[in-house]
């Protein structure tokens, strides 16, 4: 570890909404250059956790520390863009605070989104939108990228293309990645660590280790709604 101070340090992080418990005593750390995947069923508190990391979610108890001077990059699941707010891609990039147009154009090109500068954000396909969001998140040279289900709504090739791009960016910049994902096969292949959340952290660790964990199996093995795992699960059975 080049820098021992964690980027993010959560200790017994608890978030309540009224009497409902959204996050229950969640503790974890994110270190420099790490790739962490956050998985969990719908309503498990994944988005709440991300909001807490960003600082828009008030914390009920426990603590969440960010390393001083930490630079965050964030890509929302989608932008609530409507026809009513006209937004060309280059203007969207400039809203990151980057005044140099050449640097904005170069970052779009790096993220596989060359030539989109003058398109309206609302006219982009799902994959293009995610690549533009990624380009904007990288514009500020972040230490940590927080990605909220970046491949939701993408088709299989779009998904693969996005993850390949992400792997390249990570190799080039060494940026740490904290990603909410439903693509369990990618989680297994590309993450250093997996955190499985269901209000509390049910298990976490290296992907192979988590896959064997009974609580992980209870969550994803029984839930037929998550197709990728089913596939993985059967594979597993075949090998046994």
């Amino acid at each position: 570890m080049p820098n021992p101070a964690p980027l993010i340090h959560a200790e017994n992080l608890t978030v309540k909404s009224g009497r409902r418990l959204l996050l229950d005593a969640v503790s974890f750390e994110v270190h420099t250059g790490e790739a962490i995947s956050l998985i969990g069923p719908n309503g498990a508190g994944k988005t709440t956790l991300i909001r807490a990391m960003i600082g828009t979610q008030p914390i009920s108890s426990g603590s969440l520390g960010r390393r001083p001077g930490l630079r965050l990059g964030y890509t929302p699941q989608k932008l609530p863009l409507e026809q009513l707010i006209p937004m060309p891609v280059d203007r969207f990039m400039a809203l990151s605070g980057e005044r140099n147009k050449e640097r904005r154009t170069a970052m779009l090109a790096r993220c596989d989104a060359a030539g989109l500068q003058n398109e309206q954000m609302t006219d982009l396909s799902g994959g293009e939108t995610q690549r533009v969001l990624l380009a904007r998140a990288l514009m500020r040279a972040p230490d940590l990228l927080i990605l909220d289900e970046p491949t939701q709504g993408l088709d299989q090739p779009g998904e693969e293309r996005f993850y390949a791009l992400l792997a390249e960016i990570r190799a080039e910049t060494g940026v740490a990645i904290f990603m909410v994902s439903h693509d369990l096969h990618v989680v297994m292949a590309q993450s250093d660590r997996v955190i499985c959340l269901n209000t509390h952290i049910c298990c976490s660790g290296a992907p192979a280790q988590v896959a064997e964990d009974p609580s992980y199996r209870a969550l994803f093995g029984a839930r037929t709604s998550i197709a990728p795992y089913q596939h993985h699960h059967h594979e597993h059975c075949d090998h046994d």
Binding site: P76, L84, I85
Partner: protein, 260 residues
């Protein structure tokens, strides 16, 4: 020659149209038309309180409309009501409380029609000076914080992740809106303040390709509505404030039809 009172009305109206443009675009983008209503309706109570305390009405309006805007902006969802229901309750309660207060408070002689519907043709040079100063303040503040305001509109998380302050954004937006209500009340009356915000912005939306251009077009459409409305009022002897909004609505229809 054009009468001086008509010139004063036109000048005040153009100032308001200019200030309404960026705020109106933000209200439209954030789907906060009801929020504008609630803030506007709170102004009546502000006027009544100020008159009963022998203060200038604008102080009462800024205070009460500001308090209303802050209360609505920071109110957390409670009781499981939908956001538009809560805003509707706030908005109409504020209007009713204002009307009741105006009747109850001692020493308040409120020009109710003028407060509700505006009275732009009687605007004085002193009021124009206040509109110009307040309007300049709003424009400067909104310009300084523009990037944050647009980012928070797109995604509060994105804005916060990039180091922006959501609290500052809320304060800038709500207090600017409250001051705008106080300035625009004379022009169109509190019932039509939201219309002055959203109609030009909505009409500008289909014509614009960037947020900033939408603000410019909204300013132009607002200015055209003011001049057209005053002309209509002069020619047909109609109330000035509603006439301005009628022209803005016609422009909105025209721009909507142009949409592919």
């Amino acid at each position: 020659m054009i009468d001086p009172f008509l010139l004063r009305a036109a000048f005040a109206g153009l100032l308001i149209a200019l200030v309404a443009a960026p705020l109106g675009c933000l209200v439209v983008w954030r789907r906060m038309a009801y929020f504008g209503d609630a803030t506007g309706n709170a102004a009546l109570l502000g006027v009544a309180l100020a008159l009963s305390l022998s203060l200038p009405p604008i102080i009462g309006v800024v205070a009460i409309a500001g308090a209303m805007a802050l209360a609505v902006a920071f109110a957390t969802r409670r009781g499981g009501f939908a956001a538009d229901t809560v805003l509707g309750v706030f908005s109409h309660a504020a209007l009713a409380i204002g009307l009741v207060a105006a009747a109850l408070l001692p020493g308040v002689r409120l020009n109710l029609i003028g407060t509700l519907l505006g009275d732009i043709l009687t605007v004085t040079n002193g009021e124009i000076a206040i509109i110009a100063a307040g309007g300049a303040l709003i424009l400067v503040v909104v310009a300084v914080f523009w990037r944050g305001l647009v980012n928070a509109t797109l995604s509060p998380e994105l804005m916060a992740a990039e180091g922006g302050s959501l609290l500052r954004d809320k304060l800038v937006f709500t207090l600017s809106l409250a001051l705008f209500v106080a300035l625009a009340m004379k022009l169109v009356g509190i019932l039509l303040i939201t219309a002055m915000l959203i109609l030009p912005a909505a009409a500008a939306a289909p014509l614009s390709r960037s947020p900033e251009r939408m603000v410019l077009f909204a300013a132009g459409i607002g200015a055209a509505s003011v001049l057209g409305g005053l002309w209509l009022s002069w020619e047909a002897d109609t109330p000035a404030g509603p006439s301005i909004i009628v022209v803005a609505a016609l422009i909105f229809l025209g721009s909507g039809l142009r949409r592919r």
